[in-house]
Symmetry: C2
Subunit: 193 residues, 2 copies
DNA sequence: AACGGCCGTTTAGTATTCTAGACAAATGGC
DNA sequence: GCCATTTGTCTAGAATACTAAACGGCCGTT
């Protein structure tokens, strides 16, 4: 009887099986539905979710092929229920070390992997509502103008100095409801847009 | 005889085996040395590197435990021989889409995961030479002052407008050789510092 | 040449994963 | 209540990963 000793429960990161189960339920799929998509059997899904086996890379890749997320993104996925999304200007953290000082968005920056850009939204700009695409995180600071941001159903109007941080898997939408350009310094993971 | 069909060669990303081999050689280890560190046998390493088997998550985790890199970082690792490191100011790419326009550092931004900060180096500042730590990427733009940057033995003096992009596994060092503060907008992956 | 040592590869056997199918519990119609 | 579906779990057998030990190749020394 294969125990959890060999590789059943992850020693360093989270439990792989539990995360798969959560991810599957987030997509509202049954084990059999996912199995069919992924090209494996339902039993395999069950065993993995129970952490009774340590799937091969090939199998895990097949399974994760069932929904739009890469294997690396899955392994680094943060399953915390509801991370902070919106930040007031005063929430921006000012860090001052010995010789080096800097400002950064968000408080707990560990386990985050992002890329920053300098964006400009003309009045009336709208990115639409799509894009669950493959995982990733997005954050940014409003420099000038007004930005209407909708994330996972929750909507906010951000003014200069305000910032945001959310997981790209959540449906999101950017709009400029104002009459002047909206400048945002933003950042996101690989696929960008 | 197990063929490469089941999961030997990766269908989407790069070849996992080749990457492991390259990574191992970058650290100057033999298969047996790595096997001993990782707690597996040399044969396993050989088979994986030849892509004749698709290792289990547990095994791959053990193997990668041999050197300081996480499994997720390994899977997203860019193995291109010598990616561009230094960028002239004119090399910064200005992207202008329909409603959105932005400037970003580096040309091929796919498969990059970074986080940006606003740094200030006082005259004489020096980060030292350590920090291979766990993987990651670093990039940045010099805003004002002069930044002396050494990456993998190669050294450059960057002035305002210049930028850099390199893999954190390479030994690197930041210095301010000037008499005034040096301001840099930089970005890097999780561990930050 | 012959030896010892280290290298990557390969092979036979064991351990594990994965499949196909059966099982019990929960759900929804009628 | 009863049937039909669907759910997650479990079991026997096939397929695969992993181990332990060998093999041939290469280099430096004697």
């Amino acid at each position: 009887m294969p125990d959890a000793g060999a590789g059943g429960n992850d020693t360093d990161g989270q439990d792989l099986g539990v995360r798969l189960r959560e991810l599957r339920k987030m997509y509202g799929l049954s084990q059999r539905e996912l199995a069919k998509r992924a090209g494996v059997t339902n039993g395999t899904i069950s065993l993995i979710e129970q952490s009774r086996i340590s799937p091969s890379i090939g199998s895990l890749k097949k399974v994760l092929g069932g929904f739009p997320i890469s294997i690396a993104d899955f392994l680094t996925l943060d399953m915390s229920p509801r991370a902070k999304v919106f930040y007031q200007a005063k929430d921006l953290r000012e860090i001052a070390g010995g010789d080096v000082s800097f400002r950064l968005v968000g408080r707990d920056t560990r386990d985050r992997a992002i890329q920053m850009m300098h964006e400009r939204y003309v009045p009336g700009a709208d990115t639409g509502e799509e894009m669950l695409s493959h995982a990733g995180e997005e954050c940014g600071i409003v420099i000038s103008g007004v930005l209407e941001l909708t994330v996972g159903g929750e909507s906010r109007r951000l003014v200069p100095g305000d910032a945001y941080y959310f997981n790209s898997r959540l449906p999101h939408r950017f709009q400029n409801p104002g009459t002047v350009d909206c400048v945002v310094v933003s950042a996101c993971t690989p696929p960008s847009f």
